[in-house]
Amino acid sequence: MIPNLAVTVAGIQMRNPVMVASGTFGYGQEYADFVDINRLGAIVVKGITREPWKGNATPRIYETPSGMLNAIGLQNVGVRAFLSEKLPYLRQFDVPVIVNICGKTTQEYIDVVTMLEGSQGIAAVEVNISCPNIECGGMSFGTDPDLAHDLIQAVRQVTDLPLLVKLSPNVTDVRQIARAVENAGADGISAINTLLGMAVDIDKRRPVLANVTGGLSGPAIKPVALRVVYQVAQVVNIPIIGMGGIMSGRDAFEFLLAGASAVAVGTANFVRPDASLCVIDELRQLLQQQQVQDLHEVIGGLNLPEGKRLCDI
């Protein structure tokens, strides 16, 4: 019996729960030699802003044990070029396209969403309120419940597209932010974005990254990501897309149990271009081994130790 992997998350119908994470799969085309895109659950494209962004100075990436730091600075082609040059390519596939967006002000977010609104072939918008790289932008929205609430409420008013909100783990209590964006009308939550980190070069006595700090991703952050997904799942009723260090079907399974309805594969795409497909195949195998007939049987299906509840974590 082959388990049913299909799932609908925030109105996005997916043939399986495995997406590719924003910024790690470009606009799809770059990976077409390696991945049959029609097999993916969904594609989340690189973060888009109202105007093209040039990104940060170099060095922008650095490898750390089981992970990497990046301070790309959201370099992207801007929403106009995205619509005219990137989106048409993605329309040929039978896969939901989720557009990740970012901005420095509420108005910038509103403008990007307004421009996406009328276009064919967009399944949902993922609002990045958590990018740690932009001095005055993303970070502040994602770390304050009121700012996050007001931003999502403003964006909600200008679009009927499903809204996913991507949370930053760099906060004291992620549950407050999660509740705030749910109240503001979010349809789902993506968690997590990268963890703020840093690397030091002792010979030059300088930070390795030109931006000084950067976002940590990869297997190193998986325990943190699982904890965040678990915590958020306790306090919201909207679905969660779990991500952070997923390299295998087993990792994906862990996120589903912790409360995610779907997952995204990020940095693993850099290690194996076909990582997302490997995750799908292995997840299917594991579910089959455990005689699971439908994915929904395992979502949030964690058995907690006797007496352990939310207040204990």
């Binding site: 790690t24 799969f25 470009g26 770059e30 030699d33 990104g55 170099t58 850099f270 271009p273």
Partner: protein, 261 residues
């Protein structure tokens, strides 16, 4: 051009100089398709440390296999140096742009510093095939770290060597040899170079002074190698504007005069 991600069997692997190794891998896809200066992205660990792959240029190729020549620098290349014939490695490639050999070129000067010669060997072979006279200049810290000498000798090219300590050839920098050659002022000459950044920068200064067109193979810390992560950018001045360009896809070969060091 199509790129492949394949398991490649290690056919031969040996130390060829102090801290330098040479390896031949079984792969039709890369052996047949790699062009001069193109590279592969190699998985050096089956675990998560190091997590990312390591870029290495295709040193030579044949229909069924290809070779790499590399220097042990850190953890990744150290692990790689411990792999043995019979094991397989995941290889992504061929990647990047390639050296351009234009029709009007009369003579070529190829300048390699350290393991940089690894990026230039396929080019030297192509120049010879196209009967373009070529001089190869090879630099290293000392004689024990010189690589590719025998392979170049087999090709019968005009080769000159410089070592920092004078243990072989000219004592000094390989860029000094380059300047010596350029002084004769021949026209329709092209310079190709690869090596440590300070060497390439010095080479670029010299060749621009002599007004000689120069292509350099740049290195950079690399993530995906497919143009997605935007981590490996260098600054390039093109059409009067300075822009970030990806070493992995718009490079690794750039015109020296465009590079903003």
């Amino acid at each position: 051009m199509k790129r492949y991600d394949v398991d490649a069997l290690i056919l031969e692997h040996r130390r060829v100089a102090e801290d330098h190794y040479w390896m031949r891998l079984d792969s039709d896809a890369i052996g047949q398709n790699a062009r001069p200066g193109q590279f592969i992205h190699l998985q050096v660990s089956s675990g998560t440390v190091p997590l990312l792959r390591r870029p290495l240029t295709v040193y030579r190729r044949s229909s069924g296999s290809f070779e790499v020549l590399y220097q042990v620098l850190g953890q990744g290349t150290r692990l790689l140096s411990n792999t043995k014939p019979g094991e397989t490695l995941r290889v992504l490639g061929p990647l990047g742009n390639h050296f351009r050999v234009l029709e009007h070129i009369r003579t070529a000067l190829v300048v390699g510093g350290g393991a940089g010669i690894a990026s230039l060997m396929l080019l030297v072979e192509e120049l010879i095939r196209r009967e373009i006279p070529v001089i190869v200049l090879l630099g290293a810290q000392r004689a024990s770290r010189l690589v590719a000498i025998e392979d170049l000798e087999t090709l019968g090219v005009d080769m000159r060597v410089a070592t920092d300590d004078g243990s072989r050839g000219h004592q000094g920098f390989v860029t000094e040899l380059a300047e010596e050659v350029l002084r004769d002022g021949l026209s329709n000459r092209v310079v190709y170079g690869c090596g440590p950044t300070p060497m390439m920068q010095a080479l670029s200064d010299i060749t621009q002074r002599y007004g000689v067109s120069t292509q350099l193979a740049l290195e950079s810390y690399m993530g995906c190698a497919l143009g997605v992560c935007l981590g490996c950018m260098v600054r390039i001045r093109r059409n009067g504007i300075i822009q970030h360009m990806r070493v992995c896809t718009e490079g690794p070969i750039f015109d020296a005069e465009e590079i903003v060091w």
